[in-house]
Assembly symmetry: C2
C-alpha cells in the first residue's frame, strides 16, 4: 500500500525535491501534518513535516512535543528548541533544493517567505492540489475514524428531543449537545449551530440567549471530532406541532436532499448533484432561497478539500466522504437544512449518519 | 480614542493604501478580523476586513453570516455569495492599489497569491509587525474580557482538588475541567493538558488513559475562552503527600516564577525576565531543564503576539497581558510548571489568576 506521503507525490503534476508541511501558530496548524505522520492529538505548533520521494516523512518538532511525536508510525523525528535551530535543521535536511512544494491553502505567508530566505534560489511550487487530491480519498483507517465520529453525532442527535424545554436558550441547548459529544469521547468539531424559529434563516448563525417557544422550528447543525477525525450533521425539530408553512419548507429540503443522495455515487461529477438540488428548489416557492453549496469533503478537517457546488471540478470516487446538506433560508421567517455525512462507494453512497431525518415534532 | 484600525495604521512603518485581513478555511481565521470588527462569536470562514486610513473597516462577508456581521459596531458590511463575487467586491472597493498590507503570520499563502493576481501591479507589504504591536496593548474592553476569562480559570482551578479520584485517567480529569469551564460560559481555549506523574516531563503532553496513582504529582495547564478572549493557567497538585524530590522540583519553579513576577513591569525588556528565570533555574540541580520561553502575550489568541524569551525584543508597557510560566522537565521523572496570566501596569503586574499556587496536597 502506498504511504500517505507517496499518495501526495503521486498526485503532483510538477516534480519537487521536497514538500514542506509547516504549521504556523496555534490557530494555523495544517492538518496534513497529522495526515502524513499518523499522530493523533497534540498541537504541533510551529512544527514541520518534510516529505521527500522514496523516504519516510521527517517530523521536525519542538522539544515540547518530542515524546509524542516519537509515537508516529513510519516517521523519523528530530527536535528543535528554538526557531533558529529549526531553520538549521531544515537546511541540513534539504541541502540546496531547487523546488519545494507547499500546501498554499494551509501555510501562512510568513513561512513561505522564510523558505525563500533560507533557500535563496528555490522555486516555491504550489502542492495544494496534490495534497487535497491525496486526502480526498480516505484510506481504511480514516474511514473507520470518520465512521466512529459519525456514530457519536447520530447517537447525540437521537437524544435531542429529550433535551428540549420551553424557555431554554439556544446556547443552553448547544452546550448540552457539546456535553453529550464529550460524554462519548469526542468534542465539538466546530461551533455548534442551534437556531430557534426565524434565526434559522442565517446558515452560520451563532446560538444566543433566545428562549425556546412553543411552535418554534429548531435547526441543529453540529459535528464531533474524535481522534482528530470529524463528522457533520443537521437535523430539524419542531417544539410542538408543525404548521403547514413549516412543513412545506421542510418537505422541499427533504426532497432535495433525498434527490441529491440518490445520485451521489462514484463517477458522478459533484456539480451535477448541486445542479439537481438547485433545480429542484428553484422549481418551488423557495426559488433562490438556497444560498450555499450542497456539501463538502470531510475528514481531518470539517471542510477537508473538495466541495459539491456550481464551480466544483470534483468527480466522486470510492472512499470520498462528503456532506450532503441542501437548505432554504427566508429572512424574518426561518430556515431548514438537512445534512448527512456519506461515504461514496462504487454504486451509491453509504449514509454514515443514519438517524431519522424526519421533521421531529416534540411535545411542548 | 483611536479605533483599533487606526492603532494598526499608527504602528505601520511603511505606508499602504489598505490592509487586508483575510480569513482562510475554518482552521485559518485571523483573529484580527474580530479585533478590528468587534464581532464576537462566529467563524467568518473565507471572509475579509478591508482597512483603509481614515475610514471605518469594511467587512466583506459570506451571505451565510451577513446578519451576524451587521451587528459589528462602527463597521460597514458587504456580503458575497461566491468567491468570484468576493473578488469583484474587493476590486471595486480597492480600485488599483499600489501597496496592500497583509498580516503575514495569519494569512494563508494562497490568499496573498490571489491578491497578486487581482492587483497585478500591487506590492504586498508585511503589516504583521504593526498588527501585533497594536494588539499587544489591550484596550479597556479587552482587559475586561481577559479578566473575565481568567476568573473562570481561577474558579475552576479551585475545584480541581475535589475532582481527584484514585484510578481516574488524565483524560477524565481534563474532560471534567473542560466541563467546569463550560458551566461558567466558556470553552477550552486550547487542549487542556493534564499530566500524572512522570508524564509531566513533556511540556505539551496530551492527556491519555493513564490512571491516577497515590503519590502522583499532577500538572494541569488549561485556559478558558469567553467571548473570544483567552486565559491561561498552570497549577501543580500531589495526590497524597509530596516526596522531598517532588517538593524540591516544585520549590525551584516556584522561586523562579515569583522572581519573574517581581520584575515584570512597564519599561522592562521581556528578555531580562526570561534571563532571570534561566539564571535562577540553572543555578540549581535542574540546570538545563527549563526548555521553553517564560511566557507569551495572550488575548484573542492564546499566543497573541510577543513572548518572554531569549530572542524577544519586547519591552513591557501598561495594558499588555502576558503569561509567566517557568518550568522544569526531567524525562522519566516528571515536570513542574507554574503559570499566571498577568496585566502589566506602570508599577508591577497584576495577577489575573490569583488562585493559590502552592503545591496542593490532596488526600488520596
Amino acid at each position: 500500500m502506498q504511504s500517505r506521503s507517496e499518495r501526495i507525490f503521486s498526485a503532483l503534476t510538477d516534480p519537487v525535491d521536497a514538500i514542506l508541511i509547516m504549521n504556523g501558530g496555534a490557530n494555523f496548524a495544517d492538518s496534513t501534518f497529522k495526515y502524513v505522520s499518523g499522530v493523533t492529538r497534540g498541537g504541533y505548533e510551529g512544527c514541520s513535516a518534510v516529505l521527500r520521494p522514496g523516504t519516510r516523512p521527517m517530523l521536525v518538532v519542538s522539544m515540547l512535543e518530542e515524546e509524542s511525536a516519537a509515537t508516529a508510525p513510519d516517521c523519523d523525528v528530530t527536535a528543535f528548541k528554538t526557531l533558529a535551530i529549526q531553520q538549521e535543521i531544515l537546511k541540513t535536511i534539504l541541502g540546496t533544493p531547487k523546488r519545494i512544494g507547499v500546501n498554499s491553502t494551509a501555510i501562512v505567508h510568513s513561512k513561505v517567505k522564510l523558505l525563500e530566505e533560507l533557500f535563496p534560489d528555490v522555486k516555491i511550487v504550489d502542492a495544494a492540489g496534490a495534497v487535497s487530491q491525496a486526502r480526498l480519498v480516505k484510506d481504511d483507517i480514516e474511514v473507520d475514524l470518520v465512521r466512529r465520529a459519525c456514530r457519536v453525532t447520530s447517537d447525540v442527535t437521537a437524544e435531542i428531543p429529550s433535551m428540549l424545554r420551553e424557555g431554554m436558550t439556544e446556547l443552553e441547548l448547544a452546550t448540552q449537545i457539546d456535553r453529550e459529544v464529550q460524554n462519548r469521547g469526542g468534542r465539538a468539531a466546530f461551533d455548534t449551530i442551534v437556531c430557534f424559529g426565524r434565526n434559522g434563516s442565517e446558515p452560520h448563525y451563532s446560538p444566543g440567549d433566545v428562549p425556546l417557544r412553543r411552535g418554534d422550528m429548531i435547526l441543529v447543525d453540529f459535528g464531533a471530532q474524535l481522534h482528530d477525525y470529524c463528522s457533520d450533521i443537521t437535523r430539524m425539530f419542531v417544539f410542538g406541532r408543525a404548521t403547514p408553512e413549516q412543513r412545506a419548507m421542510f418537505d422541499v429540503v427533504h426532497r432535495a436532499q433525498s434527490a441529491a443522495l440518490e445520485i451521489t455515487t462514484a463517477g458522478k461529477p459533484a456539480k451535477e448533484v448541486h445542479r439537481k438540488v438547485v433545480e429542484l428548489i428553484d422549481a418551488t416557492e423557495f426559488a433562490g432561497r438556497f444560498i450555499h453549496g450542497t456539501g463538502h469533503s470531510i475528514g481531518l478537517d470539517v471542510h477537508d478539500g473538495g466541495g459539491i457546488n456550481a464551480a466544483s471540478e470534483l468527480t466522486f470516487a470510492p472512499g470520498m466522504i462528503m456532506t450532503v446538506e441542501p437548505g432554504v433560508y427566508v429572512p424574518g421567517v426561518g430556515g431548514v437544512r438537512i445534512e448527512d455525512t456519506v461515504l461514496v462507494a462504487e454504486n451509491g453512497a453509504e449514509i454514515l449518519t443514519p438517524v431519522t431525518k424526519d421533521l421531529v415534532e416534540v411535545e411542548a
